[in-house]
């Protein structure tokens, strides 16, 4: 495996290998004074964030640092991107500086795929538009396995803004690969076209699907991606699709409540549900994220690198045909 662009890139064995490796990573670090392993010493990981992020960016940064890689974090604000540099030129710059992996978040779906064609190192998708967020799906599966002992055969209900959610898309793909049964619950306006082709059942009735769920995953209502109104009011949304104390009681006794964050408390999830110490795994998901990302970086970067010239007979740097057209972000007028 060279890149991690989509949860669909992972077969069952690959996905389980990531989860097993994450478990080892966690125990290799747990309880240690110096949380550092020498494994990726000398490797360079570039975090390329064109979109705001707190937990994913810091999580990747921490994961790379714990494995002793050199990390450069680069956000669109404060970089040449705000001067109108295209994704491609940014990629070629990073390539010239010798990065072994690029962790990319971008508001355009498919940006990591394009990037993967331009750089020699590995590309990890840290969320692209409304498309995918594979490491989030991996850490969610890891959290379910830690809490519930398995993923195979679990019934997982994913609730809310499926339309704009890369978390939902990656989770549906990965959970299907791992043998879980997924039910999507959302207002019809927040379901994507073609959802019936996804490996998941669809329902509009949250109350009916809760009693048989082993895990319920609440999605954030992504106001920033909503141009039009998808539902009448926040209050109405919360009444029909929010997880409150009454609905929490409908869940089986050992079921868990997940949220990838950031949360709109009071909207898709009530504060008291989010803070429920027994059922809510929201904080756990964050700490599990570091172990899972360590595993991904180890599996992608630990072995021979396409940059090691001794191992590959003089690799051609890039496809020259690609050097002409600049895709990615539309170059804007130079401001500074």
């Amino acid at each position: 495996m060279r890149h991690l662009l989509s949860a669909a890139d992972l077969g069952r064995d690959d996905a389980l290998a990531v989860l097993d490796t994450a478990e080892r990573m966690e125990s290799a670090i747990a309880g240690r004074e110096v949380k550092k392993l020498p494994t990726l010493r000398g490797r360079t990981v570039v975090n390329l964030f064109f979109e705001d992020s707190t937990r994913t960016r810091t999580s990747f940064e921490l994961a790379a640092k714990r494995l002793s890689a050199d990390v450069v974090t680069f956000s669109a604000k404060g970089s040449s991107v705000s001067k109108g540099e295209s994704l491609k030129d940014t990629a070629l710059t990073l390539e010239a500086m010798g990065s072994d992996a690029v962790v990319v978040r971008h508001s355009m779906s498919g940006a990591p795929h394009r990037l993967a064609g331009w750089v020699r190192g590995s590309v990890v998708n840290a969320g692209d538009g409304t498309h995918e967020h594979p490491t989030q799906a991996l850490l969610d599966a890891y959290t379910m396995r830690r809490r519930l002992g398995r993923v195979d055969g679990l019934r997982v209900t994913i609730v809310g803004d499926v339309l704009h959610s890369r978390v939902a898309r990656s989770n549906v793909l990965l959970l299907a690969t791992l043998g879980a049964e997924v039910t999507l619950v959302a207002p019809p306006t927040l379901l994507p076209v073609g959802v019936e082709a996804w490996p998941a059942a669809v329902s509009y009735d949250l109350d009916a699907s809760l009693p048989k769920a082993d895990a319920v995953m609440m999605l954030r209502v992504q106001r920033e991606r909503m141009g039009d109104s998808y539902f009448p009011s926040a209050r109405e949304y919360s009444r029909r699709y929010g997880l409150d104390r009454r609905r929490l009681a409908l869940l089986p006794d050992d079921a868990i409540v997940m949220h990838a964050g950031p949360m709109n408390r009071g909207m898709e999830i009530a504060a008291e549900v989010a803070d429920d110490p027994r059922r809510s795994t929201i904080v756990e998901q964050v700490s599990n994220g570091v172990s899972v990302r360590m595993a991904v970086l180890y599996l992608l970067l630990g072995g021979p690198s396409p940059r090691d010239p001794s191992l590959l007979g003089a690799p051609s740097p890039r496809d020259p045909a690609l050097l002409g057209g600049g895709a990615g972000t539309v170059p804007r007028r130079r401001r500074a």
């Binding site: 097993d20 490796t21 240690r32 110096v34 392993l37 494994t39 021979p304 191992l311």
Partner: protein, 195 residues
Amino acid sequence: MTRALLDAANVARVVDRMAHQLLEKTGGGRDTVLLGIQTRGVPLPRALAARVRAFEDVDLPVGTLDVTLHRDDLRLRGVRPLAETEEPPGGVDGKLVVLVDDVLYSGRTVRAALDALRDLGRPRAVQLAVLVDRGHRELPIRADYVGKNLPTSHAETVRVLVSEVDGRDAVLLEPAPTGSARAGQARSGAAGGAR
């Protein structure tokens, strides 16, 4: 052509001798713990501990150590699945830790093990026990307990079979798989512990 260097009876005798030497050199196993290097070095310390118990009624704590994340040859030979590191009961701080592996070859695994051990704690001293020392060291490392010294060539691999995993105890000498006979890189953890 595969040649058996030690059969089950030989292996049993060798382990008996190593257990006696261990008791002798550690003052009857005082504050001593055994740490098997994953994955092929794991059954041997259990066998040693069992013999020590039979001879002197001393219980040596046994643990396992995965050195993968500390290896310096991942870049050459690719990533491998990680195995479990299990701290021996009572930990390693202030103890005499005996690292145990099946075959000593380049010494790189032992170097990685010394680094990995530092993450577990600070032992009083560290010793090394191996069932087979096949020579060709690339680092200044020497074993304290050696089951058998076997002069070998890089074109051969040494395979240690253990009854827990392979159904019988034996040490075999085999021709190296073609293509992997490059100097110093002929060991293969993935290929069933052939070294």
